[in-house]
Symmetry: C2
Subunit: 373 residues, 2 copies
């Protein structure tokens, strides 16, 4: 092996892995072309035209580093949420922020509570800092708040992760339940409340900012990657107490934000009309995916997100055959990684052409999968 001989013991135990294989790698490895990109919970509706225009204009400023304090963006986000910019930390998507939080909280061996089958990138970061994952099964395809709380107490865990709405299942809890859960946690346990899909959730799902802003053991995560259609910009942010927001300044890559991306986020915050419109289109596309599933004899789950998880009624092998089969038609989707969630497939919303491709391919794939049994 050609690697340096003295990486840390922890680093030496880690695999060189990627939490999700990208569609580009699938194309390369299988010699297939993606025609409908419906697997990564991106938004095929894209960002607002006003955002694209802002990005094109910002290109000329890209010779400059972006403001390391992210002042303007934090100020705009503060206005948007009715809080202070000192309650906000900006980072390279929620993925980047998750890594920073784990680093701030977890020493090797420390217990971290999450749901079995929950967000793999969070687990990746926990493993990367030597944390010990303690997982709680989903109940009825929803994260189990009571059991998460019990696991936290049993393990005296310094960190717990909860996504509301949930990925990969699309399920959600009402705001009241979320707030009760957050308040019941020991003050020595930090809750990562991942609200990446918050914009597309039904009213009453997302607690008010005020409800948790004063709680030093809660960090709420938001992103421009989903409803705002800016996954490739890599802008996420954490909302928390002053002390918690400042904690990121201890370790983050201060000059790490891409300038065009920051301008994109600023423009996206301005264009409320587009956001309202695209949320409606996302809801309509969810409906469309559900109808396609129903008409093929599958069971779509209710979703508060920009994707629909579909119960295919059998096991992981069966669902995997559907995922792989759709890819042969150029339809890229994904599926949950562990049983019993992996009886499902997960399809992101997208524009009409993508839905048409899905509608055409799915029955063919299901027929072939049935015949090959």
């Amino acid at each position: 092996m050609s690697a340096f001989s003295r990486f840390t013991p922890l680093a030496q135990t880690l695999p060189s892995t990627v939490p999700f294989v990208g569609p580009e790698a699938i194309e390369r490895n299988r010699g297939l072309a993606v025609r409908a990109r419906l697997g990564a919970n991106e938004s095929g509706f894209g960002p607002a035209p006003s955002v694209l225009e802002a990005m094109r204009k910002a290109a000329e400023t890209t010779w400059m580093y972006s403001d390391p304090e992210n002042f303007e963006l934090r100020e705009a986000l503060a206005l948007h949420h009715g809080i202070s910019r000192d309650n906000i930390a900006v980072g390279g998507g929620i993925d980047g922020l998750l890594g920073e939080i784990v680093r701030l909280v977890i020493e090797p061996g420390a217990a971290v509570v999450t749901s079995l089958g929950g967000y793999p990138t969070f687990n990746y970061h926990v493993n990367g800092f030597g944390g010990r994952l303690v997982t709680v099964p989903y109940v009825a395809d929803r994260e189990d708040l009571d059991s998460l709380l019990a696991a936290v107490r049993r393990e005296n865990a310094p960190l717990v992760y909860f996504a509301n709405p949930d990925n990969p299942m699309g399920s959600w809890w009402d705001a009241d339940n979320v707030v009760s859960f957050a308040r019941a946690l020991p003050e020595t346990t930090l809750l990562i409340l991942d609200e990446a899909y918050g914009e597309t959730a039904p009213a009453g799902t997302i607690p008010s900012i005020d409800a948790l802003i004063g709680q030093p053991n809660v960090l709420r995560m938001r992103t421009f990657s989903k409803a705002y259609g800016l996954a490739g910009a890599r802008i996420g942010y954490a909302i928390g107490t002053l002390g918690n927001a400042q904690a990121f300044d201890k370790i983050r890559n201060h000059f790490g934000m891409a300038r065009v991306s920051v301008q994109a986020a600023l423009a996206a915050l301005e264009d409320r009309a587009y956001l309202t419109d695209v949320i409606a289109r996302i809801a309509a596309s969810r409906e469309r995916i559900s109808q396609i599933a129903f008409s093929n004899g599958l069971s779509p789950l209710a979703s508060a997100t920009n994707f629909v998880t579909i119960d295919c009624g059998r096991d992981g092998t069966h669902a995997r055959a559907i995922v792989d089969g759709l890819m042969e038609h150029g339809v890229f989707i994904r599926m949950p990684g562990v049983a019993p969630l992996n009886r499902c497939i997960r399809i992101s919303v997208g524009p009409q052409d993508d839905m048409a491709l899905l509608e055409e391919a799915l029955p063919q794939v299901l027929q072939r999968v049935a015949n090959s049994k």
Copy 2:
């Protein structure tokens, strides 16, 4: 304090700091406007027009995450350097990659050797992972290779940082010296050879890629932030053995790259004519800065970079007064942080208008500084 009560002991000792205060913060804090941005070693000449065009086109694709394997960019870089893409790791600028390397190598208390007054962001990452900085003074405003090597041996250090050409002094060693230094290091010491300013260095400064590619204790760092004029894009890369390049995959934020930035880097690699042209303009601007310094009775140092470090002949207080005074004229520059380097100021290259502002402001500032003594 409103922070979570159970951050790691290490995290609790770290200050919420920024390695460099940004010009935007100086503008906000002092109520001044930057008219010539000559302090961050960016390139006021900007990227190629072809790159700007590629960025504007790429905006439309920003709803998609960037390929987590960075396949296309690594392939293009491999072609450019005549190596395999498996020898390349891509990250969020050299700053981001430095943090990853420190994380892979340093456990709390481990010795890390660097030069006294060398790159502060590297020190920031070392502190962030609890490493123990062991510093070696510059000799004649150049990093001292013999003493770096001696310190490595004395401390049995797993990591040593060396920038060639150097920031903040602009000085450099010939390739032969660099290769000898790298080969003399114990195999249990990883050399970070930071070549951020490699494109602007004289012929014979940068070792051939072949000279070090097989050495498992060397990682060479490159960036699109300097000569390529893409500081705000945040694209850097490390060149090393297969095993070392793959080591980043253990811990990096795989979906962390901004899509428009990656397209910018790809376009920049294509436009060799622009790079040749801009390197000549950078050299001319260095010359201009040196002339301005000379004609004001100051002593510019020779530079292999996109900035000129100027000996102002007195101490840090004197140099600081010049830096602050220039800012009052809207001319943003920086200076080295520690003695004896801090007798100097550091001015980045830039277009004619910026040089004219500098030329106009500097004598006024020097006069005022002299009068105030």
